[in-house]
């Protein structure tokens, strides 16, 4: 078992690590902003690339949603599903495209159940990928808020809301 899969199978640790990283970057934000995000990015990028590649097999989409997807990178899904598993999962839980690979969403679902803080975010409606952010540093795009820009009319809602609403029924 690789380091990456060991770490991913301990999502509780990763949850704390995520919180820690966010805390650090928020503290550093004024300094990074002062130095200029674009200037800093080439220095941060290799660090992020290597770290996330080892831990998550990161594909550098530049808009990281790991904590909302059970600490499993959705871009490692051959179909790039951002909102959950497709209907092609094999009977043994493996991927439709890569028969020897476990469906990453089957794994994500198991991991999310061990994530007290962010597990529920699996039900968020993730917006389409902004392809312009590919190969950018997700840490920087998080600080510049580019990663949460959504298409016009797209509300960041959770599917859990429909379970609460009574009147939102079309028939």
């Amino acid at each position: 078992m690789s380091v990456g899969s060991w770490v991913r199978n301990h999502p509780k640790i990763l949850e704390s690590a995520y919180l820690g990283t966010t805390w650090v970057f928020e503290r550093l934000n004024p300094l990074l902003g002062f130095l200029g995000y674009r200037k800093i990015e080439p220095w941060i990028l290799p660090l992020e690339k290597i770290g996330k590649k080892v831990l998550f097999d990161c594909r550098m989409c530049g808009q990281c949603i790991l904590h909302s997807t059970g600490m499993t990178c959705p871009m490692t899904c051959p179909k790039n599903m951002r909102n959950g598993p497709c209907g092609g999962v094999r009977e043994n839980g493996n991927c439709e495209v890569e028969p020897d690979m476990k469906c990453i969403w089957v794994e994500a679902f198991q991991r999310a159940q061990n994530m007290p803080r962010y597990g529920k975010e699996m039900q968020l409606l993730q917006p389409p990928v902004n392809r312009r952010l590919e190969d950018r540093s997700a840490w920087i795009t998080m600080l510049t808020k580019e990663d949460v820009e959504v298409p016009s009319g797209w509300e960041g809602v959770s599917a859990l809301t429909i379970l609460e609403k009574d009147s939102d029924c079309w028939f």
Binding site: K79, M81, N83, G84, G153, A159, T161, F171
Partner: protein, 348 residues
């Protein structure tokens, strides 16, 4: 589903399927096998058989990643003849720009039902070397179509002068892992914009009952109409092919065994009986609004299945389609056949 008169919102589309579902009638849809031909008559021949027994006809979008006549073209042909198509849009072959354009294009051709799917991977088909697009997933597609319909603009924010009136559908596969999450994923699709759901082939009724139990607990059977996917199996070999080669199809061993033990002359009938039996079982499940019949290369069986399941006559039969707009097409076909005949005379 009890329609509450006071709260009743307006129809979302001019769709016949929507009217039938909203009236609480048990709906029947069927899948049309798309032709590998540029002859519109082949679409009409297949549609004529189906239209008499179902409320809407699904036009698949290169299902299984095999190339056939495009779904938007099939829908355009069907609406011209007065049929009610369900336009299947997959995210495998087109990016968001093409998809949004096709949605308003289809609406302009009279299409009112759209089924939003992610699509089988290219490796499932006969051209596995093709580039997969997957710019969107099914949920992105659903929400985009909903934004275009309800807010009247593209994802860029640019206004659509006449927004498409669409009845939006999504698919669900309750028969594959992670089982406990499937109802929640369905909730996600409904939140994204789905008004009706068509499921993958249902051969495992107990599993489906468990799924529906969770669905009812969440109350989402009240927010969208669920149509169960069913279909006949030709033989145990066909069953084996489907469950190994078609992504996401689960067929329990007991059904394959039953077909194996049947003498060859009766296999087709037994396959059909199993399908009729499944329809009757799922019809009894609370929260099921209809069935979706997918008879791959066995369209001739669809009418028999629907009749034997006691689902005829269908409400509001469409008028006999007016074929006049296609006189040109038919004339062209006759001429072409005439030419071919002459060619053969010349070169025996």
């Amino acid at each position: 589903m009890p329609p509450d008169e006071q709260q009743k919102p307006e129809y979302l589309s001019g769709s016949r399927l929507e009217r039938i579902l909203r009236a609480g009638r048990f709906a029947v849809t069927a899948e049309l096998n798309p032709p590998d031909s540029s002859d519109p008559e082949e679409v009409y021949e297949a549609a004529l058989v189906l239209s008499r027994v179902c409320d809407a006809i699904n036009a698949t979008d290169a299902s299984g990643a095999n190339c056939h006549m495009s779904s938007v073209a099939i829908c355009a042909l069907l609406t011209r003849a007065g049929y009610e198509p369900v336009y299947q849009v997959s995210c495998r072959d087109r990016n968001r720009i093409a998809i949004q354009g096709d949605l308003i294009g289809a609406a302009a051709m009279g299409v009112r039902n759209v089924l939003c799917i992610t699509g089988d991977d290219t490796t499932a088909g006969d051209q596995p070397e093709a580039k997969r697009v997957f710019d969107f997933d099914a949920i992105h597609l659903l929400r985009t179509a909903k934004i275009m319909r309800d807010q009247g603009h593209f994802l860029s924010g640019r206004k659509i002068t006449t927004p498409p009136r669409l009845f939006l559908g999504a698919v669900s596969n309750p028969f594959v892992q992670p089982y406990e999450w499937r109802p929640l994923r369905l909730a996600k699709k409904i939140e994204a914009g789905a008004n009706f759901i068509q499921t993958q082939y249902c051969f495992d009724v107990p599993r489906f009952q468990m799924f529906m139990e969770q669905v009812r607990d969440l109350g989402i059977d009240q927010k969208a109409c669920i149509l169960v996917g069913v279909g006949p199996l030709r033989s145990e070999r066909a069953a084996e092919f489907m469950r190994t080669k078609i992504p996401g199809v689960v067929i329990p061993d007991r059904i394959v065994e039953r077909l194996r033990k049947t003498p060859p002359s009766k296999k087709r009938k037994v396959g059909k009986d199993i399908c009729v039996d499944i329809i009757q079982q799922v019809r009894e499940i609370k929260g099921v609004a209809g069935v979706h019949v997918m008879a791959y290369r066995q369209e001739e069986l669809v009418a028999e299945i629907i009749e034997e399941a006691g689902l005829l006559p269908r409400p509001r039969q469409p008028k006999a389609p007016d074929r006049d707009p296609f006189r040109q097409d038919r004339k062209w076909k006759r001429d072409r056949e005439g030419e071919r005949g002459q060619d053969q005379d010349r070169n025996p």
